[in-house]
Amino acid sequence: MSELVTEREIDRSHMQVSDEVAIQITDMNKWYGAFHVLRDINLTVYRGERIVICGPSGSGKSTLIRCINRLEEHQAGQIVVDGTELSSDLKNIDKIRSEVGMCFQHFNLFPHLTILENCTLAPLWVRKTPKKEAEEIAMHYLEKVKIPEQADKYPGQLSGGQQQRVAIARSLCMRPRIMLFDEPTSALDPEMIKEVLDTMIELAEEGMTMLCVTHEMGFARQVANRVIFMDQGQIVEQNEPEEFFNNPQSDRTKLFLSQILGH
C-alpha cells in the first residue's frame, strides 16, 4: 500500500513538536456492557504531533479516538483535551467538540445541504460567524482541498475521494486545533486514497495535531512522528515510525506487521 502515497520528500523541519500537551489520557477504561473495550489507556499527545494508530479490527483504536470528542463515553480514568476535562458537563463537551475536528470512514457529509452549506453550517450556528465571513472561510478551505468548483453541488454528486476532502474542509472550517481521522481512506478506491492522503500530508506539514486511525503504513512512515499499535483494547507498542516498522519489539506487533506488509 505504501506506494500509493506521494513520493515527494516531506520537509519535516516545520513539523516541530512542542512541549505543550494537547491531549492527556490517564488510566482510561471503557466497557460496552460487560465487554472491556479499552483497558488502562495512558497517552499524552503534544501539540503538533502526528500520531498514527494501527491494529487489528476490534482492537479498540476507533473507540479510543471517538472517546476524545465524546462520541463514546469512557467509564473510568481521565481525558483532558486542551486543558478541558471531558466530564458529563455538556458545556465542556460542546467546547471540546468545536475545537476538535473529526473525519469519518464514511465521510458523513450532510446530503441535504450543498458542499458550501456543509462547510458553513458549524461556523454559522456554533461559532456565530457572520454568513459572508463563514462563506469566505469555507471557500478558502475548499480551495485548499482543491475542490472550490464543487461548492454548489450536493454531496451525492461527488466521488468518494472528493467527499472525504470536503469532510476534511468542513472540519477545518471550525479552525480546530486537533484533527481526528477514523479510517479516512478505508471506504475509498485506490486512486482516491492518494488524493485524500495528499490533503492529510499537507495538513500535517502545516503543523496540525493529528490522530489518525489508518492502515496506510506508507502514510504512517512518511508523516507520523509516532505510531501506536493497539490490540485487545490496550496500547501494545508505540515508537517512532522507523523503529516501529524496522524493529518491532512485541510478537503481536511483528505478526501484525508481517500480515499487513507481507503482500
Binding site: 469519518f104 450532510f110 441535504h112 453550517l121 456554533v126 472540519s171 471550525m174
Partner: protein
Amino acid sequence: MSETHAETTRFVRTEMLAEQEPPITEKGIVKWIRENLFSGWLNVILTVLSLFVIYWVLAALVPWLANSVWTTGSLAECREVLAEKGLNSHGGACFSVITERWPQLIFGFYPPELYWRPIVAFVIFLLGIAPVLFQSMPRQALWGSLAAPFLVYWMIWGGSLWGPIITAAGFGVGALAFVFIGKAAGNILGTISAILLPILFWLFLTGPIVAGLSGAIPLEITKVESNDIGGFMLALIIGISGIILSLPLGILLALGRQSHLFIINKVSVAFIEVIRGVPLIVWLFTASLLLNYFLPPGTNFDLMLRVIIMVTLFASAYIAEVVRGGLAALPKGQYEAADALGLDYAKSMRLIILPQALKISIPGIVNTFIGLFKDTTLVVFIGLLDPIGLSNAIRATTEWNGIYWELFIFIGLMFFIFCYSMSRYSIFLEKKLQREHR
C-alpha cells in the same frame, strides 16, 4: 461491384445505406396498441372484455349525467322534468339538490348575510399557507403566516379583534420568556417558563385585558356560534387545524420516543400507544360526552374545539410513528457528524436530522393527513353537521326525501379534490427535495 464482393469472404462496402423508416408496426400508436393491448391471445380476450365493461358502465352513466337536472326546487319537481323528457325517475341525475342546497352544504347554518366572512377567512388561509408550502416565495411572508390563524379565527367566529390579538400576545410572552429566562437561567428553566407563563397569561390576564381594551376601542364584528358552522366549512376547519397542529406535536412525540431521558421517553410511548390503540370514534365520544363530567361545572368548552383537540392528538400519534420511521432510517453517522461539529441537540435536530427524516417521511405524513381529513366525517356521530350530517338532514326534508347518489357523489368529489391535491403536493415536494441524483 458489391455483388461480386458479397460472394467472397472478403467484403468492402462501397456505399453507406441510408436510414430507413421503421415498419408501421414498430412505431407510434400502432406499436403501443400491439404491445399493450394485443400482445397475446390472453391479452386480446382481456382487452375485449375490458372494453365491454367500460362500455357497459359508460352506457349507464353518461345518459344519467347528460340528462341531469340542475334547476328544480325538490325531488318531485325534478322527476316531473325527467318525465317530461320521457325518462323514468332514474333516467337522469337530480343535481339540483346541490345547486339548491349549495350554501348549506358549504357553510352549514352560518348566517347568510355573513357568508363573505368565511370566504375572506379562506383567502387569508391560502395566503398564509402559500409561503409555508412553496419555498420560492419571499421568506418575510412567513410573518404573515404567523398572523393568519388569528385573523382566520376572527373572521369565522367574529367577536372582538382584541381576543385573537391578546391570545397571540400570549405566544409572544412565551417567546420572550424562552429568550430572556433561557439566557439568564439556562435552557431547561427557559423552556419551562416558555410553557408556563403563556398558560398563566391566557388563564388570568387575557380576559381582563380583552374586556378593558374592547371597552376603550371596540373592534367588534357579529359573533357566530360554533353550532351554526357546518358543511365543508366544518370539515375544513377541523381537518386543517388538525393537520397544522398535529405535525409539530407528532414530531415532538417522535423525538420524545427516541429520547434517552427516561420520563420523556416513557410518557411519549404511553401517549402514542394509548391514543393509537383506541378508535377515533371513541375519542370523539369522549370529547363530546365524558369531558363535560371532568371539567368544572359552568365551564363552556366549545364542542368543536374539543373535537379539534381530539383529532389533533389522534393524528399526532400516527405522525409520531411515521416520523420515527424517518429518524430510524438515517445513518448513525449523521448524528455523529453533527455531534462532532459541536452542534447541540436542538441545532443538530433542526438543521441536520429533522430535514432529512421529514423528507423521508413525507409520503407517510401526507398519508396520515389524508386519513385525518376524511376521518372528519366521523363527527357526524357526535351531532356535528359535517357534509355527511348535512346530507342526512337534507334527505330528511320533504323536498329531497329519497335522494342518495347525487349528494354522495358531490361529497365524494369534494373530498377527492382536497385529498388528491395533498397527494400531488406531496409528490411535488418529494421531487423538489430530491438531492441524490441531480
